[in-house]
Each structure stands twice: as structure tokens, then as C-alpha cells.
């Protein structure tokens, strides 16, 4: 688990699903930590370095930051579950009109141990804190 004072994530107890609390000094670090948190929960195994390392650009648009966060995580989740790919986020920019641009470097994995069905909107609310931003995300599994 990646964790320090400025940016990180932690798993919280939820009766049936999975919940993480994510924090970051700005929107970009919050989104990066959320992605890291989701991949951590998926319990990825066997990164096959050098076999299929591809670079890809993605561009997403939403109505608000919460919607943008869901789009971003769903994008990575789809690629994980359908293509068995995990991505290093080389570059990430998020603008105030809720658009996201990312440069990703993907690598093939052997398997993942946990099937996340979806990233939910349940009580999804990006909050401002003294150190930046934080958000709780519930994943349906």
C-alpha cells in the first residue's frame, strides 16, 4: 500500500463490498492514488515486463470531478479485466472544466485475484481538506 501524509489510500471496512479512502495534495495526485488503490484491491499478479509494453493516450470528459474520477477508474478497470493490462500513468492533467488527459504505459499481467464489478457513485464526494483533497470510493465486487 502506497501511503504517506500528502497522498495515499487505505482500505476501509464495508459489509459486502470494498471501500477505500484516498487522499492527495491536488486533483492529479488524488486521481493517481485512486488508480493505485483500485489496482491494489484487484490484487494483480505476475507483471510480465517487456512482453507487451504499450503506450496509450486517453482523453476523458465529464460533468464534474466525481464523474471524471469514475470514468478514469472504469477505463483502467476495463483494460485490466478485458485485456489483462495494468498501466503506469506517465503523465496526467486534469482541467477545471472536467477534462482529463493521460499518457499511459501498459504492461501485460498473468492474472488478478479479485474481480471488481464496478466503481460505484455511492456517496462519492471529493472533499477539500487542509492538505488538498480526499474521497471515499465504494467498489462493487
Amino acid at each position: 500500500m502506497i501511503e504517506n501524509k500528502r497522498a495515499g489510500f487505505e482500505e476501509l471496512a464495508h459489509t459486502a463490498d470494498l471501500e477505500i479512502r484516498v487522499w492527495g495534495k491536488d486533483m492529479v495526485s488524488l486521481f493517481r492514488q485512486a488508480a493505485a488503490g483500485m489496482i491494489h484491491l484487484s490484487d494483480v499478479e505476475g507483471l510480465m515486463e517487456g512482453i507487451s509494453s504499450v503506450q496509450q493516450d486517453i482523453s476523458l470528459e465529464a460533468m464534474d470531478f466525481e464523474g471524471l474520477l469514475i470514468l478514469f477508474l472504469e477505463e483502467l478497470l476495463y483494460r485490466l479485466t478485458e485485456d489483462y493490462m495494468v498501466y503506469e500513468i506517465l503523465k496526467l492533467s486534469i482541467t477545471s472544466d472536467y477534462t482529463l488527459k493521460a499518457k499511459l504505459k501498459g504492461a501485460q499481467i498473468k492474472s488478478y485475484q479479485r474481480d471488481i464489478k464496478a466503481v460505484t457513485y455511492h456517496n462519492l464526494n471529493i472533499r477539500t481538506t487542509a492538505d488538498g483533497y480526499e474521497v471515499n470510493i465504494v467498489f462493487d465486487i
Binding site: 464495508h14 459489509t15 464496478a118 460505484t120 457513485y121 462519492l124 465504494v138
Partner: protein, 483 residues
């Protein structure tokens, strides 16, 4: 947080949160629970989520929660809510991501005594024939055009391909095919995810189980279903896989903007909805039906594989190894049904999220053999504990929109379960209890430990006490296959 003091006691098994509890409630909450179970549910947010669901426009009657309720997202698991058709709304979050997750029960003429020596081989064969596990594909590779056929035709597609009998279809909710599926409402991603998962179990709480029919409570109904004490039965629990998850994700996302357009205010964004008669509501309903049909076909193909597994082990060793369909029923679904509400016959959209349809005797959708006894209601317990076969009652039609509980219901979080239970220890314990376990992941096994769930017997006692179901038989697990 809703506390026990906020609840009005109706009788020993029913409680109400009055509409006056919060200003945005359009109907009250009706809770089916014994006092003992109620103490457990006030510890998580399930009742608060039920109160949130009461804000949906067009609700009729009350939002109901079954005794196996637990915290979900948006709606609680175990929630039942009906909205007026077509003016009311449909909410994807009131149905869930695993659209038409459900249970199928197959019976046999195999006595435990004669089959006992082959149980280990059967476990191995089921594990080999029925693809399971995290992210695992099935044996079939379909084109997106064929996936569209599966979505339109459900179990009928399976029958056309040789995976089903007439009896299989007749003894499935809606004959295994709900009308109104239009694959044009599915995203390319949803269709793509459907190409390799027909006939696959998946992971999580999904399972295939060989059970012993341990006890019969209603001899007449058991005879009609073909259940005999001492024989084996097989349960399959799974849903619409990635295609269904994608449908729900797509529409929860697109409806975020739509609610504002229709002036709908909601306490939680995962409750987003659209009027059933709006273009957006019609699109989701149709896409949801596609996923539901996909799930019926998925369980049908898995049944075919299970039959092959039984044949491969038992042919030539016993006289009859056939597995015949008892029933297949959904527990995450939205259905357009007609119910008597407030003395009037009204068409409604019943959202069942972690709740099983439980139609009483005489209901239209039941095959002739079940018209007299009521619909078989399948309530699997947690891993290693009993499962129950119940039947729907006339009382269920009056009191719970023909709905009942769907399982035991979790009480312990997955993080806590993993901390306190070791998968390997659990497997040894279950094996000492005479249960043969085949699991894809030991950590996954720990998360599904019986201690993480309520006592299914208490849940069943509650629905029986409330009169919304009647006991037919109790099943005891012998072999459990988990993804």
C-alpha cells in the same frame, strides 16, 4: 443513523420506518426481520440506504427490506421497491451491477449412499467442466452478433444450440427469456465483454454446489418438485458476468445528467433513475433485459456442463445420473408485474436487489405443475451451511409483492473476515465437516466464510414467520466449487 427506536413494530416479524422519519421519503420502509436480526442490521447502513431509496419518484406501497439485508451502494441488498408503470422511475442501482444474478436448482435420482464413493471425482469433474475463477472465460467464443442473439433469446438461444431441454425452459422464471430486449441499447464494451463469458461462473460469492436433500418439510410440494430426502441436488449461483456489470455502469453514468433534466432530486448519486416512459428509462429497461437474458443463458450452459460432468463420472456406475431442472430464479432484477396495491390492480416495475421473486399459487408465470403449490424459492446459505427450498405463498403476493429473501446476508466486512479467518484453516474445517471444497483463491475463500454471514436458518424462520414463504426442504452441502 437509523436506530431501533425509530422503528414501529407491526408484529414479531415486521417493522416500519414511517414516512415522517425524513422529509424526502415518498413512502415508508417495511422491514421483515425478527428482533434478533434487527439488532444486527442497525450496525451497518442498510436501513439508512432503504430510507434513501424512499426518495425515488413514483414509488407505490413501501420500500421493503428482507431479513438478509445488508449494506450495499444506493439501495441496500435485500431491497424490494415498486414504482408505478410507466410514470414512475427505474433505477439501475436498485437492481445492481450483476443483473439477473440468480440461483438454479437441479434435482436427481442419485441417492447419497450410492454416489458417496464418487463425490471427490464429481468435485474434480465439475471443476474441470464448469469454467470458474476471477476473470476467467467460458469455453465458448461468440461473435458480437451471437451475443446479441443470446441477449434477445436467453435460454431459448441455449436450447437452439442444444444446451437445454423444454423442461429446463419451462421451469425458469419467464421461461428463461424476458421480452423487450433490444441489443442496440448495449454499448460496444458491453457486447465485447459478453463474447467469451457464456457458460462461466466467475468469482466472488458465486458457486456450484452438490447438496444432500437433508430434510423435507412439505411432502406434497417436494413431490411435485421431485425432491426426495437422501438424494443429491445441485445449485448454481451466478449472473450476467461482465456484460451485466457494463450495462449497469454505462447507465448509472449516463443517467447522472438525466435526473437533472427530469428535475429529480436524490440523496445518493448511485440511486440515479429515469422515468420508465422516458427514452432513457426505456433504453435502460431494454438493456437490463438483454443482460438478464444473457444470465439465464449463462446458467443454462453451466447446467449443461454440470450434466456432462456427472455423466463423465457416473455413466455405467449408477442407473440414472440425470440432473433435471427444478427451478431457476433471479434475485437482482427489475420486472414489470401487476400487483394488488391498496385494493387496486396496478402495473408496477418491481426492483429486486438481493431479493427473490416468490410468487404464490396460481400466478401467471408459473408452469402448470407449480401453479398449485406456488413458485419454488431458492435460498442458498453461506458456504458450508444449509440452503433452503421454499415456496411462494398467497400472503407474499399481498404483503411483499411476491418477493422473499435471497440468502443469508453478510454481517462481517471482507477486511475483517480476511483478518480473522485463514482460507486454509477454513478449508480444513469444512472438510472435517464432510464438505469437499474446490476454490480458486484461499483469500477469496476466507472472505466468504460462514462466520461472515448471518445464520440462514434465522433468516428463513423470519420469512416463514411473516408468512411470505413456506418451507419445502433443507439442503446440506457436500461439494462446493468456488471461483
Amino acid at each position: 443513523m437509523v436506530s431501533i427506536n425509530d422503528l414501529k413494530r407491526i408484529n414479531s416479524y415486521e417493522w416500519e420506518i414511517p414516512q415522517s422519519y425524513r422529509a424526502d421519503m415518498r413512502v415508508p420502509v417495511r422491514i421483515f426481520a425478527s428482533e434478533e436480526l434487527l439488532k444486527g442490521v442497525t450496525r451497518d447502513k442498510s436501513l439508512e440506504q432503504a430510507v434513501n431509496a424512499c426518495a425515488l419518484p413514483g414509488l407505490v406501497g413501501s420500500v421493503m427490506v428482507m431479513p438478509d439485508m445488508h449494506q450495499g451502494y444506493g439501495f441496500p441488498i435485500g431491497g424490494v421497491a415498486a414504482t408505478k408503470y410507466p410514470q414512475g422511475v427505474i433505477s439501475p442501482g436498485g437492481i445492481g451491477y450483476d443483473i439477473n444474478c440468480g440461483v438454479r436448482l437441479l434435482g436427481s435420482r442419485l441417492s447419497y449412499q450410492e454416489t458417496k464413493p464418487y463425490l471427490d471425482e464429481l468435485a474434480t469433474a465439475l471443476n474441470q467442466f464448469c469454467p470458474s475463477g476471477v476473470g476467467k472465460s467460458g469455453h465458448l467464443r461468440l461473435s458480437t452478433k451471437e451475443v446479441e442473439d443470446v441477449c434477445r433469446e436467453g435460454s431459448r438461444w441455449a436450447k437452439k444450440k442444444g444446451y437445454a431441454s423444454d423442461q429446463d425452459l419451462r421451469r425458469t422464471e419467464e421461461g428463461g427469456r424476458i421480452q423487450g430486449a433490444d441489443p442496440r441499447y448495449l454499448s460496444p464494451r458491453a457486447l465485447n465483454r459478453g463474447t467469451n463469458q457464456v457458460g462461466s461462473l466467475g468469482a466472488g460469492n458465486h458457486f456450484i454446489e452438490i447438496d444432500l436433500v437433508a430434510e423435507i418439510y412439505d411432502h406434497q410440494a417436494a413431490q411435485v418438485m421431485g425432491l426426495r430426502a437422501g438424494d443429491l441436488a445441485l445449485q448454481i449461483h451466478c449472473g450476467s458476468r461482465g456484460l451485466g456489470h457494463q450495462v449497469c455502469s454505462d447507465y448509472v453514468k449516463s443517467l447522472q445528467q438525466v435526473v437533472h433534466r427530469y428535475g429529480i432530486e436524490l440523496p445518493d448519486r448511485s440511486l440515479v433513475c429515469a422515468p420508465l416512459d422516458s427514452p432513457e428509462g426505456e433504453a435502460y429497461l431494454s438493456a437490463m433485459v438483454c443482460a438478464a437474458n444473457y444470465a439465464f443463458a449463462n446458467r443454462q450452459v453451466l447446467s449443461y456442463y454440470a450434466r456432462e460432468a456427472f455423466e463423465s463420472v457416473l455413466a455405467g456406475k449408477v442407473s440414472d445420473w440425470h440432473l433435471y431442472q427444478i427451478y431457476d430464479v433471479a434475485h437482482n432484477i427489475g420486472k414489470i408485474e401487476t400487483h394488488q396495491i391498496g385494493g387496486k390492480s396496478i402495473q408496477v416495475c418491481v426492483h429486486r436487489k438481493g431479493a427473490t421473486r416468490a410468487f404464490g399459487p396460481g400466478a401467471d408465470d408459473l408452469p402448470s405443475e407449480y401453479k398449485k403449490i406456488g413458485q419454488p424459492v431458492l435460498v442458498p446459505g453461506s458456504m458450508g451451511t444449509s440452503s433452503w427450498v421454499l415456496r411462494g405463498t398467497k400472503e407474499a403476493m399481498k404483503r411483499s409483492l411476491g418477493s422473499c429473501c435471497h440468502g443469508a446476508g453478510r454481517v462481517m466486512s471482507r477486511t475483517q473476515a480476511k483478518k480473522t479467518i485463514w482460507g486454509e484453516d477454513l478449508r480444513k474445517q469444512l472438510e472435517r465437516d464432510g464438505i469437499n471444497i474446490r476454490a480458486g483463491s484461499m483469500a477469496g475463500l476466507a472472505e466468504e466464510a460462514p462466520a461472515a454471514y448471518k445464520d440462514v436458518d434465522l433468516v428463513v424462520d423470519t420469512v416463514i414467520g411473516a408468512g411470505i414463504a413456506a418451507k419445502v426442504a433443507r439442503l446440506k452441502p457436500l461439494v462446493v466449487i468456488k471461483g
